[in-house]
Amino acid sequence: MTFEQLRLDGVSRSFGTANALSGLDLAIARGEFVALLGPSGCGKSTALNCLAGLLPLTGGSIWLDDARIDGQPPEQRGFGMVFQNYALFPHMSVRANVGFGLKMRKVARADARRRVDEALRLVQLTDHAAKFPAQLSGGQQQRVAIARAVVLEPPVVLMDEPLSNLDAKLRLEMRMEIRRLHQTLGLTTVYVTHDQEEALSLADRLVVLRDGTVQQIGTPEEVYAQPVNSYVASFMGYRNLLDVTVTGAAGSSVTVEGAGVRLSGRGSLAEGPAKVAIRPEDFVIGDAAENALDVTVEIVEYHGRELSISARLPSGVPVYFRTDKRLAPGDTTRIGIPAERVLVFEP
């Protein structure tokens, strides 16, 4: 089944009076990898379950080109899904798990066998075909789950935090694997995660959600470099969020004051309260041309080549930055930041 566009039109889902997802509009092109990103409870899993057909909508519609599919049960939609807890059938061998969907679709036995072999080879589990899920490691289990979903060559693959149950090293490996599979098979993928690094590294496009509403849709680069509000910024690693007041504005550059400092930054706001967002890694140590801040180092975390430092401004407001200079708690230092890296948002 080929299609050009999967379209979500005002997709909403409420549980009682609580809106888990309100009015999600999204058009996904064939072959695209879209990540739904947000903290738990933001509606990203709800959106995925609505797409899979596991959860009926309370509003809106879902379209595959010109066919409306939100009334179809999951077994007719035929979207592949990878679950957070893998959801492998414990009483079936790896081979039977991967072949389950083909069997349900009454694919001829020889053809099914060939496709299962192919899928197992793709996830490098050929040697484990006869094992049962309980005999596999977490990463292997997740690879079975992925093989099970992609063996059907579904129009859309849905992934619900597939890496969150794995340890850090395995997570990196599996992330590569998923990226590789997407490059090889080109399957349209909707990927749900709360990890911004995962979303940035995997997706062609990101959808940042908060309390069931879309905050920003854009490429990883757009969302990373130009978050539309302080919420997205905080999620994208802008760890320093200061409450300030805009004292002067000229075009896209503004001057703000607050927390006992004065900063110039980027934004288009009138005078009044605002929020400043700065990445820890954007600070530079030493006499900077712009935005010089004097801070006292409080906590130093070792991160290999870099140190992650928590310091305080003279006003007592905490500032986080990263540096390769060896600082110790109690040191005072001057840090600076270019004005174009200081993002100013509405509070």
């Binding site: 899979a52 057909g53 596991l54 049960p73 999951p74 077994e75 939609r77 035929g78 979207f79 592949g80 899904m81 679950f83 807890n85 959801a87 492998l88 059938f89 414990p90 009483h91 389950f100 969907g101 349900m104 679709r105 049962f132 309980a134 099970r148 979903a149 059907l152 849905l158």
Partner: protein, 297 residues
């Protein structure tokens, strides 16, 4: 600390390594009760059954199998207990399947289904007589409506005992089945759905195979309860003929003929028949997948 003591860990630690420590004392009350109330009476009954009033040590057993009036109680009892158990287990599957998820009125329905378990057989039999007897509501209504010409024979026969066993046995097997079903990870069925399995296929391929070992246990426990049927066979059955179950034979021997030895022999045979059935069911269970079902308990 002396050198010897530090080379060898203390006795307490060495015992603890083998799982022997003071928590084992928690077993004492249970073991005492088991020994006094089960083990001793059982062994006493066993030796009593081999000490008949007349004849050799196997005389009681020879008499049981030689006398069709006694021997056939085994088939009579199986003829009641097996259908009742099948009905209870099979009926509890669909209901538990519906109730495994959040449904409106779940608590009320569960309460209604489980209430009979609190009533006890005698009260149930009483109710069955009032409701299903020749002058009971059911027959009155059916006669008034002209559906039947004469009262349906629902009690004081095989049907009465079967009904009573279903009413008292169903809640038990329902609760057990429900707990086994709740132990199966619901995302397995969701996964099957996304792989193209419809409702029937999901049940047959995923839920049922994972539930089967639990159903075997449910079957065994329900069967044991049904097999030892006594009050309902007396009260709503036909204890002289159609529902002369094995426990009635044991009662008859022990408390009407005052032949405790024979009574014990019948009771021992009762246990043997139950163990055979349980053994067969457990042997079948042994062929199934019995690992984790992914649920959260």
């Amino acid at each position: 600390m002396t050198a010897v003591a530090s080379a060898r860990p203390a006795l307490r630690h060495r015992l603890a390594e083998r799982g022997i420590d003071r928590t084992l004392l928690l077993l004492v009350p249970g073991l005492l009760v088991t020994a006094c109330l089960f083990l001793y009476p059982f062994l006493y009954g066993l030796q009593l059954s081999f000490a008949p009033r007349q004849g050799g040590i196997f005389a009681n057993y020879a008499r049981f199998f030689g006398d069709p009036y006694l021997r056939d109680t085994i088939w009579t009892t199986l003829g009641i207990a097996l259908p009742a158990t099948f009905i209870n287990v099979l009926a509890s599957i669909p209901i538990a399947y519906v109730m495994r998820v959040r449904v409106r009125g779940k608590r009320l329905l569960t309460t209604i289904l489980v209430v009979p378990i609190t009533l006890g057989t005698v009260l149930t039999a009483q109710g069955l007589i009032m409701y299903g007897g020749p002058a009971g509501w059911l027959n009155k209504v059916l006669t008034v409506l002209g559906i039947t010409d004469e009262p349906l024979p629902l009690i004081h026969n095989y049907t009465g005992v079967l009904l009573s066993l279903v009413i008292t046995g169903f809640p038990f097997s329902f609760l057990l089945t429900l707990s086994y079903l709740s132990g199966i990870d619901p995302s397995l069925e969701k996964a099957a759905a996304t792989l193209g399995a419809n409702g029937v296929q999901r049940f047959r391929r995923i839920t049922l195979p994972l539930l089967a070992p639990g159903l075997a246990i449910t079957f065994c426990l329900s069967f044991v309860m049904a097999f030892s049927v006594f009050p309902s066979a007396q009260l709503v059955g036909d204890p002289a003929n159609e529902t002369r179950v094995i426990s009635i034979a044991a009662y008859h021997a022990a408390f009407e003929e005052y032949d405790y030895s024979m009574g014990s022999a019948v009771a021992m045979l009762m246990a043997v028949v139950m163990l055979i059935v349980i053994g067969l069911v457990m042997a079948w269970r042994g062929t199934l997948y019995r690992g984790a079902t992914g649920g959260k308990g």
